[in-house]
């Protein structure tokens, strides 16, 4: 009990000491040598409240998030479905592999001008941009996961007459899920990047557009507040992802930690 009492404050100190020191350092720096480009943390905090706790949440932030989730979900669905199909058949996998490696190596933002051209400037284009980049890590990791299916497990399932959808649901997907989750994690960070870039390119709303607008108008604290918001978003989404991952893979982690 006593141990716990001393343990918690110590943990809090460890958790907060460096971030607090960094913010203080920044603040001290901005006071000592005021710079146009690096405003003080308090200015940014005020700007943050002024800019984002307004209708902007409804007009810019939420639609961006909606497109991100739509694109991410679509990429996950397509990636897993195609990945299972390709991973299950050796010849199909061997045929598809070089093509997939090529598409994965294409830097995803490069496709933005192309998708703009084909789909026009609308929500569909922005969702497609996200799908076009986020699908590859999911697809390739699913292929790997399905391919590495434990042979004893597969034989046992066959002996028990497990096939079709129930084989997929009870054997293939769970066995591949650690790999699939790894792919989904990469896809999430790529999705965020593409959400921002899609909006920076050609858009009249959204987070990326707003941040660039501030930058072009030399509204520096406002621009920083946008950067902070994007950072928070990335951080929170990765926390959320970790929570989901822990639930989906609880059996796997228990196994590996034992």
């Amino acid at each position: 009990m006593i141990r716990r009492m001393t343990g918690l404050p110590l943990r809090l100190v460890r958790l907060l000491a460096l971030p607090v020191a960094l913010v203080l350092g920044w603040w001290g720096y901005s006071v000592l040598s005021p710079s146009f480009y690096v405003p003080s943390p308090t200015r940014i905090a005020t700007a943050f409240a002024d800019v984002w706790f307004t209708r902007r949440i409804l007009d810019d932030v939420l639609p961006s998030l909606g497109r991100l989730l739509a694109g991410y979900a679509l990429a996950a669905l397509l990636g897993i479905a195609l990945g299972v199909a390709i991973g299950s058949y050796r010849r199909l996998r061997l045929t598809a592999e070089p093509v997939l490696e090529f598409f994965r190596a294409v830097p995803p933002p490069v496709l933005v001008p192309l998708i703009m051209l084909v789909a026009g400037l609308n929500d569909t284009m922005k969702v497609l941009v996200i799908v076009s980049g986020a699908i590859w890590p999911v697809l390739l990791n699913t292929v790997e996961g399905v391919r590495a299916l434990d042979e004893v497990l597969a034989d046992t399932a066959r002996a028990y007459g497990l096939r079709g959808p129930s084989r997929l649901w009870h054997l293939v997907l769970p066995a591949a899920s650690p790999q699939i989750m790894a792919g989904l994690r990469q896809a999430l960070s790529i999705g965020i990047i593409l959400m921002v870039i899609g909006e920076m390119f050609a858009s009249t709303s959204g987070l990326g557009y707003t941040v660039v607008l501030f930058q072009r108008g030399f509204q520096i604290p406002e621009m920083w507040s946008g950067i902070v918001l994007l950072g928070l978003l990335g951080f929170l989404l990765s926390l959320a992802f970790r929570a989901v991952e822990r639930r989906v893979l609880y059996w796997h982690q228990r196994e590996t930690h034992a």
Binding site: P98, F102, P107, P109, L114, F235
Partner: protein, 259 residues
């Protein structure tokens, strides 16, 4: 050996199918030629570009930003990782900060880079360094944490110096992790190099794509995208090769060779 040849044949077949589909779809009118020119037209443009100078200059600019940015990020991350390992308590104190800064999407820094450096190499470097730094740092931290405590105690009882322990014990243990970090960072750095050129307009492959798109040269856009993809593949292969050479002694790589 024949099995391997057959595998490669399947791969070539796959690329052939891709080419055939990209050739047939616009010719049959399924997708307008304005959006997807037939594959032979793209190939023709690509070959013409490869014969010219412009493409190579642009590619050179991109790869220069990539190499400089990656080198800076790698050295910084390596130094910081080793430092965090060497100072007692530093790991616990830095975890929250690292976990907070790492998921920040590097493209969030695009406006800042534009303000500070404009359409210049500096912009690319800022984005590349930020994005690839975390990839390496995380792996270095995993790596140095993986050192066998018994081996460490043993080294200490033999009175090995700090430097010797670092050189003979920590470095070999961490090297596989460091190489993984380098591999991930190299891919990310390439993506960010092209992205910076595309969005901010610093010279390079990305800027060429942007120019071709706004000029309506669709086949050119596809050809340049193909160049970007092939370069990405080459980057991946090169780093993998390096990894294999440096880790030739390591069980994970040694096990791969006989196959």
């Amino acid at each position: 050996m024949t099995g391997r040849l057959r595998d490669i044949a399947y791969g070539i077949l796959g690329l052939g199918i891709l080419f055939a589909v990209a050739e047939a779809v616009p010719r049959l009118g399924l997708i307008s030629r304005d959006f997807l020119p037939p594959a032979d037209e793209i190939l023709h443009t690509l070959l013409r570009d490869l014969a010219g100078r412009e493409l190579w200059t642009a590619l050179g600019e991109t790869m220069r930003a990539w190499a400089i940015g990656l080198a800076i990020a790698f050295v910084l991350a390596l130094a910081l990782g080793v430092l965090i390992d060497a100072i007692p308590g530093a790991r616990a104190a830095t975890t929250s900060t690292v976990e907070f800064l790492r998921p920040i999407p590097s493209v969030a820094l695009i406006p800042l880079a534009t303000l500070l450096y404009g359409a210049d190499l500096g912009s690319s470097l800022l984005l590349i360094v930020y994005a690839s730094f975390w990839q390496v740092l995380i792996q270095v931290l995993y790596g140095v944490a993986d050192v066998d405590p018994v081996a460490r105690e043993t080294a200490r009882s033999y009175r090995l110096g700090r430097w010797t322990i670092l050189r003979r014990l920590v470095w070999p243990t961490a090297l596989p992790y460091v190489m993984t970090g380098l591999r991930l960072a190299a891919a990310v750095a390439f993506i960010l190099a092209v992205t910076a050129e595309l969005v901010i307009g610093s010279p390079g492959l990305g800027l060429q794509i942007q120019l071709a798109q706004s000029g309506g040269a669709v086949a050119e856009v596809y050809a340049l995208i193909a160049v970007a993809g092939l370069t990405g593949v080459a980057v991946n292969l090169a780093v993998r090769q390096l990894e294999r050479r440096l880790l030739a002694w390591h069980p994970s790589v040694r096990g791969e060779n006989p196959r």
